[in-house]
């Protein structure tokens, strides 16, 4: 550390400090996986944070070129392993739309299958947001909400285990429907869970969301306004946290989302507590509110009951016609897009996934410049990345 020449007669008002380059990750408790951040620190202040990704790269896209469409579905599980159902669903929607391009190739998903998809997708959204809530609490320093979130997520995983046989990598939603019908008594258990879970959200809000220290840590930190969010291509709760009401389930309804009544929560200014739209607190709060909306959707399914009938369409083979498709769906972390080129064979020529976390991560550098080390943790937690999806 070479200090500059100093005249001893004057007191140096702005002392020269070295920038310290610190590697945060890939082994770090709050980078949510194997993200590595190259931090340029001036004391506690972050001059620059350069994300390095690729530690979890598993060649999903290249791998898919050698697999048939059914075989790709279990690999989509491994993208966003927190919300694997929604990953399955996104891929299947793309394949189904590609197949439907040719007349008579795809008969459409049966009604019961659609209902089950929405039920499972929304349950998984709750599970994903719960994990996000828990880990965010832990990032900010409160360890207890993490275990409460896991306790409740465990109940969702148990439901999934009953319906599809796996806890994390479900491979449940298939092209043309879902793989299994509900086991006996499943809907009662869903109802039991929803009845238990709905008051729990308010409890968590008063435990963490309203906590003064938590607000102090997250309010007005790393404000991403709507313009910046759109420029970066950010979607999902991060975009809604910035104040833009954009939800594919509402604005471009796929499946049968247009039959359900739900709101799209957005971030907003709350000057009383210093919360600004687009800050970490709002991005977090949107997730908490979305859990309530998911509960509302599930309640509507429970009220109407699942329609009778098959859960999967009768398909001879999953062999889309020649063509290409880009289909997007609303995963818990944002818009998940799949771009598929088919040449009419059972295997795709190209599969490209547009991952919401990847775009969210790209904004990290601009968001974190000039903040403190502790804020970096708050940002990473609030944009809620899953490295499996970023690296694929």
């Amino acid at each position: 550390m070479a200090a500059p020449q100093q005249d001893s007669k004057f007191i140096e008002l702005k002392p020269f400090t070295d920038e310290m380059i610190v590697s945060m990750g890939p082994q770090h408790p709050s980078t949510h996986g194997v993200l590595r951040l190259e931090l340029k620190l001036d004391g506690e202040i972050v001059r620059d944070a350069i994300p390095h990704i690729g530690y979890l790269h598993r060649c999903f896209e290249k791998h898919s070129e050698n697999l048939s469409y059914q075989q790709i579905i279990p690999f989509t599980d491994r993208m966003d392993y927190i919300a694997a159902m929604n990953m399955n669903w996104g891929f299947c929607l793309a394949v189904e739309e590609l197949m439907a391009a040719e007349e008579g190739k795809f008969p459409g998903v049966p009604e019961r299958g659609e209902y089950l998809r929405i039920l499972i997708g929304e349950l998984n959204r709750i599970g994903s947001h719960l994990l996000s809530f828990g880990t965010y609490g832990m990032d900010i320093g409160a360890f207890t909400p993490f275990l409460y979130a896991f306790r409740d997520r465990e109940k969702i995983l148990l439901l999934f285990e009953k319906i599809c046989g796996a806890r994390l990598t479900y491979n449940y939603i298939r092209v043309g429907g879902v793989s299994r019908d509900t086991p006996p008594g499943f809907m009662d258990e869903v109802k039991e869970f929803i009845d238990y879970f709905e008051p729990q959200i308010d409890l968590y809000n008063s435990l963490l969301t309203a906590n003064r220290i938590f607000i102090e840590r997250t309010a007005n930190v790393a404000v991403m306004d709507t313009e910046m969010a759109i420029n970066y291509g950010i979607t999902g709760p991060n975009l809604r946290g910035a104040g833009l009401q954009w939800d594919l389930r509402k604005d471009e309804p796929y499946s049968i989302y247009d039959r359900f009544d739900f709101d799209v929560p957005v971030g907003r200014d709350i000057p009383e507590v210093g919360v600004v739209a687009g800050d970490c607190w709002n991005r977090y709060k949107v997730r908490m509110d979305e859990m309530k909306e998911s509960v509302r959707i599930i309640r509507q399914i429970l009220d109407s009951g699942l329609p009778d009938g098959p859960v999967q369409a009768e398909l001879k083979a999953v062999r889309p016609p020649k063509g290409e498709i880009f289909h997007r769906s609303e995963a818990p972390r944002g818009e998940l897009g799949f771009y598929i080129i088919s040449d009419g064979t059972p295997k795709p020529v190209r599969v490209k996934a547009k991952s919401p976390c990847f775009t969210a991560l790209s904004a990290l550098q601009e968001l974190s410049r000039g903040l403190m080390v502790a804020d970096i943790i708050a940002i990473i937690g609030s944009i809620d990345i899953v490295m499996g999806e970023v690296d694929r």
């Binding site: 697999l67 048939s68 059914q70 075989q71 790709i72 579905i73 279990p74 690999f75 599980d77 207890t144 409460y148 306790r151 465990e154 148990l158 285990e161 009953k162 599809c164 046989g165 796996a166 990598t169 491979n171 793989s179 299994r180 086991p183 006996p184 409890l203 008063s206 435990l207 963490l208 309203a210 906590n211 003064r212 220290i213 507590v273």
Partner: protein
Amino acid sequence: MRHYLSNIYLGVYTALVGMRITFKQMLQPSVTHQYPYDRSFEQKKNVREIPKGYRGKLDNRIEDCIGCKKCELICPVDCITIATQKLPKGERLWDSMNVVHLKDRTEIVGNIEGDEKPASNTTVTINTRDDRTVNVSSEEIANIVERKPVIFYLDQFDIDMSLCMYCGLCTEVCPTECLIMFDNLSDGVEYSTFDRTDLIYEFAKPEMYEQPADESTEAEAAD
């Protein structure tokens, strides 16, 4: 000044609210259980069972396998290796049978007496392979699968469980439902080993196809 006081008040108040929640939680019984000790529901009531249909370790009831290689084809990670040898034309190891799947996810293997597709509200009699006769109501039956006669020798049927990704595709395509995944704790989940090679399970049973002694000596003589 108001901002100042309000900050103090909110800091104390919200902290107290949180502490009230955690204190209430402390008085409630915990949800975890001591896994290797509290193993099953019979021992301790809050322990949950692994549900039916769980995707655990793969198992092949090799007697029913017809060596169709569908599982080998569909496996996304190529963890199944099958080598077969076709029987001479017209020969078969056993005749076709029915596998009756009941709604409580148990199954019965055998020949259904009479009608292949039973009408509703009738009792179905099944002569099982191990020479028992089972009567079930047709309401309980989920579906019936016909098991085709065996026309293959299976020389090799290996599953490398260290590669398996538990997607369950192979069990879905299996036409005879002989490839299954265990859905209980001791068979399906707790099979870790200290050696990776122990995870390669060899299901093929060559002794199953053993011919009478005189034929084998003839074959040797022919060589």
